[in-house]
């Protein structure tokens, strides 16, 4: 699945940043993964374990924060979350809603020495 490709990208970004910051060992990596992204935390963890085999990230711990999806209705301006993926406003049933969270796929921070 695409979690492998995502994790390769994570490691490439980490490597570049660690080099810039003079970090030789990464101890912790924190990701923020929105529930709308189709990326499964378990699969990301598996991909991380498979890919992290080099010195920089060998002992790193992966922490994934799942971010719940929230929407703002463009008709009534109210903010709501969705229990079912219907994508309409819970208050006024407008179809015009904007995603305000839940579609992110971020490296939040990492720790290293």
């Amino acid at each position: 699945m695409h979690e492998t490709a995502l994790m390769e990208s994570v490691l490439a970004i980490l490597e570049e940043s660690a080099r810039k910051n003079g970090i030789n060992k990464i101890t912790k990596v924190k990701l923020k993964v929105g529930e709308l992204t189709n990326a499964l935390p378990e699969a990301l963890e598996l991909a991380f374990e498979a890919a992290k085999g080099d010195l920089l990230t060998k002992n790193a711990v992966l922490e994934i924060e799942q971010v719940k999806a929230y929407f703002r209705c463009q008709s009534c301006e109210k903010i709501f979350s969705l229990e079912s993926p219907g994508f309409y406003c819970t208050f006024c049933h407008s179809r015009y809603v904007k995603i305000i969270s839940g579609d992110e796929l971020l490296i939040d921070y990492y720790e290293g020495e």
């Binding site: 695409h2 490709a5 990208s9 993926p85 796929l105 971020l106 490296i107 939040d108 921070y109």
Partner: protein, 220 residues
């Protein structure tokens, strides 16, 4: 030491996608990224569609496939330039794979590039290739529950195509529910209902694509 990054994991892909988009824009090429599960009929739709394009529309096709070149051969049989990208098991095309083959494409001679993504409704949705438009294809044999099961792609696709409508009487597909779910996910989406086999409904879809290509061409 803690380093705050707040970096999008897909930033490398998105940067290359932006580069691709710039190249396509400079050459006035309209690019369509077609996404579906395996067996929805993408290649058959393309075969029919390519043969019916008016002469001012000059297409080329990129075929994303896990391993075989079967689909590209089918496209070539229509007389259209087709290039195969084998992902070697990868479940999606990414922007870099497209970038890598750009010089093999007749970019100076075309104004429509169709990218047939790897058959999969989940993974291709996350990867911008630099296209103008995503088109999601579903066939009635897959069931009407797919849009809510894979909301990301159905929300992102500017165009949806329901294929194999000639089989509607033989399968358990709730057309009203399908339409209702799509409207909820993406109220602005253009929806088409076709049978690539009988060619029913194909004409409006072709007209829509032709219009898009001509608009990008700048009304020459």
């Amino acid at each position: 030491m803690q380093v705050q990054l707040t970096t999008n994991i897909l930033k490398a892909n998105d940067a290359i996608a932006a580069l691709n988009r710039k190249i396509f824009s400079e050459k006035n090429i309209f690019v369509m990224n077609i996404i579906s599960s395996p067996g929805a009929g993408k290649t058959t739709i393309l075969e029919k569609l390519l043969l019916k394009l008016p002469p001012d529309i000059k297409p080329a096709v990129i075929e994303g496939d896990l391993a075989t070149t079967k689909d590209a051969e089918r496209i070539e049989n229509t007389g259209v330039f087709a290039l195969q990208i084998n992902t070697l098991g990868g479940c999606h095309l990414d922007a870099n794979m497209i970038n890598q083959v750009l010089e093999k494409l007749p970019l100076e001679e075309i104004n429509l590039l169709i990218i047939e993504n790897v058959g999969n409704l989940v993974c291709p949705a996350g990867f911008d290739l630099g296209e103008d438009m995503k088109m999601v294809v579903l066939s009635v044999t897959e069931g009407n529950d797919k849009p809510l099961k894979y909301p990301v792609i159905f929300r992102e696709a500017a165009v949806s195509v329901l294929n194999k409508i000639d089989l509607l009487n033989y399968v358990d597909f709730d057309l009203n529910q399908y339409e209702e779910d799509l409207i909820a996910l993406n109220p602005d989406q253009r929806r088409f209902y076709i049978s690539a086999r009988t060619e029913e409904g194909l004409e409006p879809l072709i007209e829509f694509i032709v219009e898009k290509v001509r608009a990008k061409k700048g009304g020459e």
